[in-house]
Subunit: 253 residues, 2 copies
Amino acid sequence: MGTTQLESVPEPKYWHLRTVLTEALDSEFAVGEVLPNERDLAARFGVARATLRQALEQLELEGRLQRRRGVGTTVAPPRVGVDVGTRRQNWPGMADDDWQPEGCDRTVPPAAVARALEITSGDTVHTVRRSLMSQGQRVATELLYVPDASVPGLSAIDAPSAAARARAVLRELAHRDLDGQERAVELGSARADEAKDLDRLPGAPVLVLTTRFVAEGRPAAVSVATYRADTCRLTFGDSPEVEIHHGPERQAS
Amino acid sequence: MGTTQLESVPEPKYWHLRTVLTEALDSEFAVGEVLPNERDLAARFGVARATLRQALEQLELEGRLQRRRGVGTTVAPPRVGVDVGTRRQNWPGMADDDWQPEGCDRTVPPAAVARALEITSGDTVHTVRRSLMSQGQRVATELLYVPDASVPGLSAIDAPSAAARARAVLRELAHRDLDGQERAVELGSARADEAKDLDRLPGAPVLVLTTRFVAEGRPAAVSVATYRADTCRLTFGDSPEVEIHHGPERQAS
DNA sequence: GAGTGGTCTAGACCACGGT
DNA sequence: CCGTGGTCTAGACCACTCT
């Protein structure tokens, strides 16, 4: 009979919800505005709270929403572009470097980092912790691994304060001649300590930018920088101002 | 009394599970091996299936697991490094470009792309679809937006086949003098069409690499490339061989 | 303390891939 | 057909923030 065969591919409720909410965000909400709470929203759409949350999770992943326990769900501002350009081939800590040194101690780096540094696994290296602020918010944390060989002039253990020790390592590192750097970006999830730094929950999605600095033909340092994936866009261009992507919306398909 | 105050910060079950499973994967499983099914695993760990799934989701996000409906959960191979280096400043389609042209039609680009191209919103442009294979698997899809002004020599509508039309646009585009390019990487979620291309479900996490090509001082084309975030690592270095990250594991904290 | 999002449960049914 | 992961429900309780 007239079974017109709509819904031959019924899309999941949470996905449909995501679409509806996306459109609502584009047209009816201003940045910073708080949404109704999850229980009300779920009731309004006639779904279980878990289903609604699946949709909200998507939107948070896409940087459209921000959720904070005990507070509520708010409309997120557009992602902030963070310039990680390759042309400015500088050592960490030079010139217009916005990173804040926070501390430095000696640790055994992860096996993969030891491999990249071409040191024997198990050796300790100087490990500088730094963080990057943008618009009043911490958007990234970094661990910079510096083998002893890269900072020969470092005068014993001069330990005035954690941050001062970090600056000393950076200053000494800058004496090497930087040949170039190799980088990779991948998706990761925040460890407990990183999550705390970034004001997120453990497991929050992050962009991991790994940089290997090469000086005088040898690996001189490895940086593992962890950016909040929800709020950041990593830019590599000549003009970081360009606002590509994330306007009213990506193509509807 | 002697309440030794352990567990002052009881970590969530799913997070603890993730840790346990990570260690198991590192020590007891080989790449490609299939895990027990979710119901069995949940029972074995004494948690609800939803909780176990939360842990598996994390591990899939981190590229450690691969789950396929109707099949099972398998241990994923290490992420494949995809070179998107900036040194090879080439037009799409030149030389050692591994992308496969798949089709081309005229569409109205998303508002953000129109802005980046500096064309009036609503104008149609040539839209080339391409895809990138690696190790027998499609790892990325791309939409390349090319305004008419960038391909003036294109002879009317010569339409032998979709792929041929794509090649024609690329060929014509290469006649422009490329000044440079501006790029950005951000986290996104796969639209329905992209998900199908990449053999994932809608909403799967992807790395979106947006490139604006500049020729003769004007934006000449914009590429929006969507990479599977679970299986890809985007590399920018001089030597893409470097295997940084994702060995036995990142630092335990 | 009131209200928010975060975690967890124990079920049910569906969609898909292989047989 | 069976077994897999994917979706969804209706509850419960916890952890946090703000007042």
